[in-house]
């Protein structure tokens, strides 16, 4: 589980980020990111709040336009000016912290509408694929429910199913369990774990260290817009070679400072 045999070197990487920079005004959020993710590889991205994890993820499917550098997905340069962004995004599933289900549509419609409008699938095919993927996340019985009637965990699983129904090559997860009540986190992680075992290429921003340790092929630690450390989970989490990583992990594991999102600055000052 901790090796990277299927990944880089042998074939072109599924995701290839090269010298990626992104600024918002004069805020340099990403300052030269290089990253390769092989086919079927699961990479967890960890790091303090504001380190640019979401921005990196959003640059991969061009929700943010990079300031400089290149991103390749499945061999296509998605940052190329002539690229059809919509076509690229069809191949990349994205799961958000806030689920972002379409509240005016039922669960099934959330899955069928994108297939029909974007992939031009017929009514029946779309319904079939929707049912399959709801089954996959264990929510077949909620097919006719509306998002507002679901728990956060169920909504997130529907969001995963919605992305999967498009048949993506790659799945991006941006803190998929951060908005969930603790008791609902497990179901979502279970779905993601299964997906990983099925061979999906996954890039996961998360604070769930046990998930990273157990499921990830690699863990990437980001801080201040750069990748500080990149390696096997046992190494990055278990035996980090950088002080910044150690510092981050110790605060993450310290229950008294569990709310990593809010106290980064304070923690820095407190040193």
């Amino acid at each position: 589980m901790t090796n990277t045999s299927s990944s880089s070197g042998t074939s072109t990487p599924e995701i290839h980020v090269r010298d990626l920079h992104k600024s918002f005004g004069d805020n340099d959020v990403l300052r030269g990111i290089d990253l390769e993710i092989g086919q079927g590889e699961v990479v967890c991205v960890i790091g303090p709040s504001g380190s640019g994890k979401s921005t990196l993820l959003r640059c991969v499917n061009l929700l943010e336009e990079p300031t400089q550098g290149q991103v390749f997905v499945g061999g296509t340069e998605v940052t190329h000016p002539d690229v059809d962004i919509d076509a690229v995004r069809r191949r990349i599933g994205m799961v958000f912290q806030q689920f972002n289900l379409f509240p005016h549509l039922s669960v099934t419609e959330n899955l069928t509408l994108p297939q029909r409008r974007v992939l031009k699938r017929g009514k029946e095919e779309a319904a079939e694929v929707a049912a399959e993927n709801l089954e996959r996340v264990g929510l077949s019985e909620k097919a006719d429910a509306y998002p507002s009637s679901l728990s956060g965990g169920q909504q997130q699983r529907v969001a995963i199913a919605r992305a999967l129904a498009m048949g993506p090559e790659v799945m991006l997860f941006d803190e998929p369990t951060s908005a969930l009540d603790p008791e609902l986190v497990g179901d979502v992680l279970a779905v993601m774990r299964r997906l990983a075992h099925e061979g999906m290429t996954m890039m996961v921003v998360t604070h769930e260290m046990s998930f990273a340790r157990e499921v990830a092929d690699r863990v990437v630690f980001m801080d201040g817009g750069v990748i500080v450390e990149d390696g096997a989970p046992a190494q990055v989490i278990g035996n980090p070679s950088h002080e910044r990583t150690r510092h981050f992990l110790s605060r993450l594991l310290d229950p008294a400072m569990a709310d990593v999102e809010d106290d980064v600055e304070e923690g820095e000052k407190g040193l």
Partner: protein
């Protein structure tokens, strides 16, 4: 009033919030009714009745006041509303466009038409358009002209309402749609606008009430007998008979529609308020 007071007595000891509210409202009613009574005593009812409540005149107005005048009022209103809605949506989208000139054009339209009295727009449509484009006919005759005039009047307001509705849809909705491969336009149509419309149904219904009243301005376009709506119908009859009863009846016909509509608006607003809690 004694009946009302009796119902205000709390059944159990201590007043619930609801009962307190009812009590204060009851007090307000008392003041209000007193004012009405004072007014009623002071007014010269005989003359008023003569001028506004001639029963045979009322009877003479039926059924035309409903089958012709009210029907036309509703037709004018609905067609104006549809034109305004479509135009308003287009202007709202222009206003939100990344393309500068679209935004400016939409902004100019909104500023101009929000600032003009509806009457001027009717005069403009009735006089200026035929003068400026001789030989051209606005399709649909009077109905087309009214639809255009009311549409122009309401589009500015509706555009601002719809724009606010679109902006009230959380940003994550567009991002989710885009990340699924929707184009911006398709995401707007399938995901954002349907949600925005839910938000703006109450204010748009309110606009419908305003339009309903503004449709009376048709009389400045010059209409045939068959095209008269409530106000024109009432006024014509009033001047024929030298009596104002038809005006009163026409007014009641307006209320017949606007009061229930207002009720619907308040219900929708209450529902929308609940949903956002």
């Amino acid at each position: 009033m004694s009946d009302a007071d009796a119902t205000l007595q709390p059944r159990k000891s201590g007043l619930t919030r609801r009962q307190k509210r009812a009590l204060s409202r009851g007090a307000q009613y008392v003041v209000f009714v007193a004012a009405v009574i004072a007014f009623a005593v002071a007014a010269d009812w005989g003359r008023l009745k003569n001028q506004f409540a001639q029963w045979d005149l009322v009877k003479q107005m039926f059924p035309d006041v409903i089958t012709l005048a009210l029907k036309n009022t509703v037709l004018y209103t609905m067609s104006g509303f549809v034109v305004g809605l479509v135009l308003g949506l287009v202007i709202a989208l222009m206003r939100l466009s990344p393309v500068g000139p679209y935004r400016w054009l939409a902004g100019i339209y909104i500023e101009i038409f929000r600032g003009l009295p509806a009457l001027l727009i009717f005069v403009f449509v009735g006089v200026a358009v035929p003068l400026a484009f001789p030989g051209t006919e606005i399709p649909g005759g009077t109905y087309g002209k009214v639809a255009l005039a009311l549409g122009l009047v309401s589009a500015a307001y509706m555009a601002e309402t719809i724009r606010a509705g679109i902006q009230a849809v959380p940003k994550g909705q567009m991002e989710a749609a885009r990340s699924l491969g929707f184009s911006h336009a398709r995401a707007m149509v399938s995901i954002i606008i349907p949600q925005a419309f839910r938000i703006v149904i109450p204010p748009l219904t309110n606009e419908l009430v305003l339009l309903f009243k503004d449709s009376s301005l048709v009389l400045f376009l010059g209409v045939t007998l068959e095209e008269r709506e409530l106000t024109k119908f009432g006024r014509d009859l009033a001047s024929q008979t030298a009596n104002s009863t038809p005006i009163l009846v026409a007014g009641l016909c307006y209320l017949l529609v606007t009061v229930p509509l207002g009720f619907v608006v308040r219900r929708l607003e209450a529902k929308a308020g609940e949903a956002t809690k």
